[in-house]
Symmetry: D2
Subunit: 216 residues, 4 copies
């Protein structure tokens, strides 16, 4: 299933407009904060699909029957660009477990590239709800590889794949390769074009560089 | 209209359960953060009802048509207990204007009390969307008086009245006294009982004291 | 005692430069955040003068002798402009008690004004450390009146009066009217000029308007 | 040079006491926030040693001569435990560039382990001020290897190595292997003991697990 949040009216669209805007992007702090807020909004929308249980809670004045989160949530992000969204997800699910993965594009001399995974830190995912974020879902290849690596030893109950901006091609790639019952794809915007260098157009440029500065 | 968010499944219920819990309340920081998060969630839900306009935004790689917030939002809170929710609302609508009002219960020797307004700081509200928060909506009297005072010189297009925990009586009071086309009442929980001292039961106790410490 | 932090080299000066800058001020969120960060820095510097006690703390691997805050801190601010600094102070002293006071300039037709106090919410201050903030210390009159009102029923051990930008005149006013053993004045910058309308020059304009929007 | 902040009186000691406390550690959110606050305090103290330049800044009412940060700061952290401190450093130096490195202990069957580096994302460091953080400085081996890897292609002007809790052995290791003119070691506490498994005693346990949950 794909949940394209740009087709729904909310303040999320304002955040995306600021992320994209070349004149606003020079404020790295605001750029990171907007990714954080997008993460927080997605976490909240996902929370509507989770399991809760009613427990009696003692207040200073009586006992209240309260719904408390029963699902075990794991917040995961692809380094380094995923960190601000990760922080936003974690601000909503502050008790969650966490996973971090590094993936990068290894560029060849002919201009092509391969996805390489390096650092993988993850908990047991069995029967948990996995929230896996990367601000840009371009070809979908690194996200697909990351997802496969994460669920190798233990299988989550369901995985939500989250991006701020996705390409149609990236969404299609994930839908083609993974079962609808296993993953839900969320994006705050879906753009049609993908360049030969796998940049989303109009997109926003390189989210990692904009949040954290250029890499050597 | 009343939007009782406890009847919808979301992580908001977890936050309310922590607010209510005597064992968690001794952490003032978490108490304030939970009020902030409730404010942020409500702001986001309200943002789905606001007006947007599509503008062309220049990205580093092209031009994107983006929805940007057109409504003028004013975030208002009743001192002092409203400040954490105010901070949460403002974290979502960071460009908003703001209003602050102080209201308090002046207790008489016979145990009764009157609501008194003191400090009122507000912008022109004409045709704006007013978000007015106070964590506890008990009798509704102080909220009603605050709302009336705020809109004396200038009338907002619509007002959203927000509380973390409301009493049924408080909700009824506002519905009886104000037009449905003018106000929407939002609460993260609605409790049935109200003591003679106007404390909501089971409620959570005194939100101002829990967030900021006892007053002289 | 006066602690003029602009005479010491630190990142605080960068924050002040952003607060003052007309081109940066249009970002209300950054404006508030810079006031918050100035509050946090001042809280930290003040924390070096507080009392601590060594307690044994059980870690998962042993027992550590740790210094824990013994002083009772009260964070106080003058509404509404003081709220962002208040939030910063409270982010450092998250266990603190709080006070809020509203003071405003009641303008007469002849252009003169009087300071009026309205809302006062405060705890017992006996033997506590009071941190009282307002981003602009202009004539010092409203700060002086606020301070006097706060300590009417209970006397703190010491009071730190905090502003982002003070005028020399405001600093002199406080030094003339209060004992050095009772108060310490902190400012991130001290400007020489004060206009007839009591605006600090070069200052930054109206801190309340810049953080929260114009008032009616 | 070693700057042991536990020998100086400040609220930092309170944060360390909460980090260490088994009874407080079950709140992962507070654990991360305390690491963030320690990062922010260290960033601020380091900011006193950086270079600034005076620039004229136009305010709404005049021109102010302001000190603005001239040094180019790079915030770096060792994954995954370093992220909360990284967030704190970045909250102070919001314009900074960033580096992320993953290092882990590869355990052998005999109980020994080797440090392995994987993900390295870094900017050109030439003549910049590098802030490199990891909450626990145990043997110093992974920090030393990380530092060497970071400066391979480009040399910073100076590097500040930051930890929340260091062992004396780790501090000695870094002092033995690197020049005092190149690095300054900062820690919020220095503990004497290091177990055969390289855990600091009394320490606080595993900072990564406490912040983010156990790894598979």
């Amino acid at each position: 299933m794909v949940r394209n949040l740009s087709s729904e009216i909310s303040i999320l669209n304002q955040y995306v407009s600021e992320l994209r805007n070349v004149k606003v992007q020079n404020d790295r702090w605001r750029f990171r904060k907007n990714l954080e807020r997008i993460g927080a909004v997605m976490a909240y929308e996902i929370s509507k699909q989770l399991e809760y249980e009613i427990n009696p809670i003692e207040t200073p004045l009586g006992v209240a029957q309260c719904n408390q989160l029963k699902s075990n949530v794991v917040v995961a992000s692809i380094m380094r660009a995923g960190i601000p969204m990760h922080n936003g997800l974690l601000s909503v699910f502050d008790h969650a477990e966490n996973a971090f993965i590094s993936a990068y594009r290894k560029h060849e001399k002919d201009g092509s590239f391969k996805i390489k995974l390096e650092y993988v830190s993850k908990p047991d995912l069995t029967d948990k709800i996995l929230l896996l974020c990367d601000p840009m879902l371009a070809t979908g290849a690194s996200m697909g590889l990351t997802y496969k690596t994460l669920i190798e030893e233990s299988k989550p109950k369901h995985t939500h794949i989250l991006s701020a901006i996705a390409s149609s091609e990236g969404v299609n790639y994930l839908e083609r390769n993974f079962s609808k019952s296993d993953i839900t794809i969320w994006s705050a915007a879906i753009d049609d074009e993908l360049t030969a260098q796998a940049y989303i157009v109009p997109g926003l440029g390189d989210a990692g560089d904009l949040a954290f500065g250029k890499k050597l």
